[in-house]
Amino acid sequence: MADNRIDIQRPQRWDVPFWQEGSLGARRREMTEKDVDRILTVPPFSRIDPKKFPASTPYRGVLLNDTRIRNFSKGDIAVREGDYGNSAFFILSGSVEVVLERLDQSLIGRRAPQRKNFFSALAQLWRNPSQPEVRSRRKLARAGQPVPSWERDAPTNVFLEDVSVIIQGKATATLRPGEFFGEIAALGRTPRTSTIFAERRCELLEIRWQGLRELRLRSSEVKDHIEGLYRSRSLKTHLRETPMFRHLGDGDLARVAEATEFQSHGEFEWHASYNRVAELSQAERLQMEPVVAREGDYPNGIFLVRSGFARLSETYNHAERTISYLGRGQSFGFEEVAHNWRHKEQIPFQHTLRAVGHLDALFVPTLVIEQYVLPTLKEPDFPDPCVPKAAGQLFERRSGPLKQIGPETLEFLVEKRFINGTATMLVDLDRCTRCDDCIRACAATHENNPRFIRHGPVQGRTMIANACMHCLDPVCMLGCPTGAIHRDSRHRQVLINDLTCIGCGLCANSCPYGNIQMVYPRDAKGKLFYDQFTHSPIQKAAKCDLCADQITGPACAHACPHDALLRVDMRDLETLSKWFNR
């Protein structure tokens, strides 16, 4: 081989089995063929037909590589409320307790973020390599070696010291052998909704989401089982978190839940058509967005956004004008339903609700709201009076801070689906002097490799730079065969584990915003790494990690001398509005 290359074996999906991942330390237990045999005797795994799995990912292989058995002692936390989970659990023995109410965060071991200390941060000044994308050969070619704990989404092994005192007065539920938990967060790319801990000594089978996805895809037993759980557990939690249902007793809440319908609008894999849709005219794009509720129709119920995004628009002369966007946890139609219940004069829906990309919604019929919710609602909890649109006041109230942003910018943010970002990089072009201090800071904190491009779509004086937005709905995570791209459970950034990334490029292709780059690692002398069998260069996915390990937070925003750059959660409308009106 030539001198300027190093041949190694291309990393494969199951190079790092699930049992080798994470910071289990002494608790790490190898997943053996004997363990797989044991699992295959337990329903629903015993009922799954291995023939439904392709030769490349056999059923036994999934169990051997995508699952691990973990032992928990009494009080050990299995999942924590608020963590982004990449795995689900199946109870093999013992039992766990689900805390249905919020616990004090310090009690469940949520610690301050782990970042570089001052001296290791300073050392970047002289330690950064001169070559781009430098990796050590030892790390890159270490197939089968355990992944360092600091790289992975560490599982929680926090211990609740005095269980009885901590959960005193809190609503709990017990789960027993044969039951799943954590599947909603694992499959929905959402945070855990409850804290679950071992009620007594128990043995849990943890399944990483790639494996769970395979099982659900190939087995109707697992699929039905999970969907049944999803309906019964997720629905009640969601309703309980919605302000208008908060005051309901368990009985009434159960009746509301029973009458609630699940609705799904748009494409689940919306990112696949994103670029094609972007080329259409505004009117054509709007026509492609499925209408969930139409302005002028009778308000037959309220819609609660479970996941995804919705556009709220109103008729404006010959077209539709976007006035707001809704995300997870927000509702539509309650004002109209409440108005009609209180007044003789009946009004229809005042706005149109459309799915932007994909939208999972809950629909609660008007009759149920009128029967169980409105009669028990206290005066301050009623929505503001609904003034028919002609008066123009509803727009004022609904838009709130968004009104400050301006209709063109709002249309732009919704059209391009930048509302998905939790750390969207906005650049004020009227203040940006193009000095590139942001790029230099990014490079300095990433071993001389800038992780974003100061370029991107522009609306007025605002540019959305090509930097990972750490999306609320991170479609880049769909399909990653090894789970290298994951949500950090502590800081909630979307991160790439460089060691388990096999360079397949799925995440880069899936990111509709083009914010993930495929890079070619090399050693300190600049030699590229090549696959020793196919002789093609090794690739890795790279993107903004929001400076997860830096003490300053995002270096780009920290380094901008002109207040031109903002990393913002698009749900934070106050900050957004203030920034647009400085």
Partner: protein
């Protein structure tokens, strides 16, 4: 009140208050026969060092040394304050002696280059945004080469397709040099758009010699001329935004050096 307006007002009030206090202190020291010049000189030197540290801060983005925008605000108002201190230090009189004159000239050069930088930092970004497609400075040479190739292909294609040399002759006479290298940079810096309009009107004047096919080519050519104009504009204005620091920073180091020498000399002979 908008955040920036509030910040400016606050900065201004602090600057004026501090300046008045310093004038009063200097007057008090001078009337009580204390070394007022030494106090103002040391303060000024310390302030200059602090101002110069902003550049060092930029090299250490990974350290928690406050946000660069906070440093920038300090740099702006402390820069104004340094001017007040300088005037107090020289007693509102012209300096005498080679070292003092050099030092004063250096100080004024640094101050005015800073003020120039501040002014263009506030005005130029909006000009860049309004002018056309935003471009990354480092990519401009490659984009220019691409445009030039495109124009040449268009012109050669036109000759082959129409058997007419009108466009090719005009290209040789006017456009070749225009697309070859950055042009009219000073016009762009000063916001003077006559060269573009002149070129476009010369293009329009050719219209009477063209057939329908050539007119299509000419329309495309006019678009490419505008694209090149945007490239030149972006290069000129972005270059100015980057370039002024190459004056401001070296002069700052020279000023610090001379100020230190001046301090040692003044200390030694007092």
């Amino acid at each position: 009140m908008r955040a920036f307006v509030f910040r400016r007002l606050l900065g201004l009030v602090l600057l004026v208050s501090l300046s008045v206090c310093c004038c009063w202190l200097d007057f008090s020291l001078a009337t009580s026969l204390r070394p007022a010049a030494r106090v103002s000189g040391i303060s000024l030197l310390a302030l200059l060092v602090m101002l110069a540290l902003f550049n060092a801060r930029k090299k250490l983005p990974f350290l928690p040394l406050l946000k660069a925008s906070a440093w920038m605000q300090f740099h702006i108002y402390a820069g104004w304050f340094a001017m007040v201190l300088f005037l107090i230090h020289i007693g509102f009189k012209l300096p005498r002696g080679a070292l003092e004159v050099t030092l004063a000239i250096l100080f004024l050069c640094v101050t005015f280059s800073g003020l120039f930088g501040l002014a263009i930092s506030r005005w130029s970004p909006a000009r860049l945004t309004l002018h056309g497609e935003g471009l990354i400075y480092e990519r401009i040479p490659a984009l220019r080469a691409g445009l030039r190739r495109e124009v040449e292909e268009l012109v050669l294609g036109s000759v082959a397709a129409t058997n007419s040399s009108t466009i090719a002759d005009f290209y040789q006479a006017k456009l070749r040099a225009y697309f070859e290298r950055p042009r009219y940079l000073w016009s762009h810096v000063l916001g003077y758009s006559k060269p573009l309009h002149q070129l476009l009107s010369e293009l329009e004047a050719l219209d009477r010699y063209l057939n329908a096919e050539e007119r299509k080519t000419m329309t495309q050519l006019a678009e490419l001329v505008r694209a090149k104009d945007n490239l030149d504009f972006q290069r000129a204005v972005q270059g100015m935004l980057k370039g002024w620091l190459f004056v401001h920073i070296p002069l700052t180091y020279a000023l610090l050096l001379f100020a230190a020498v001046h301090g040692i000399v003044a200390w030694g002979f007092t």
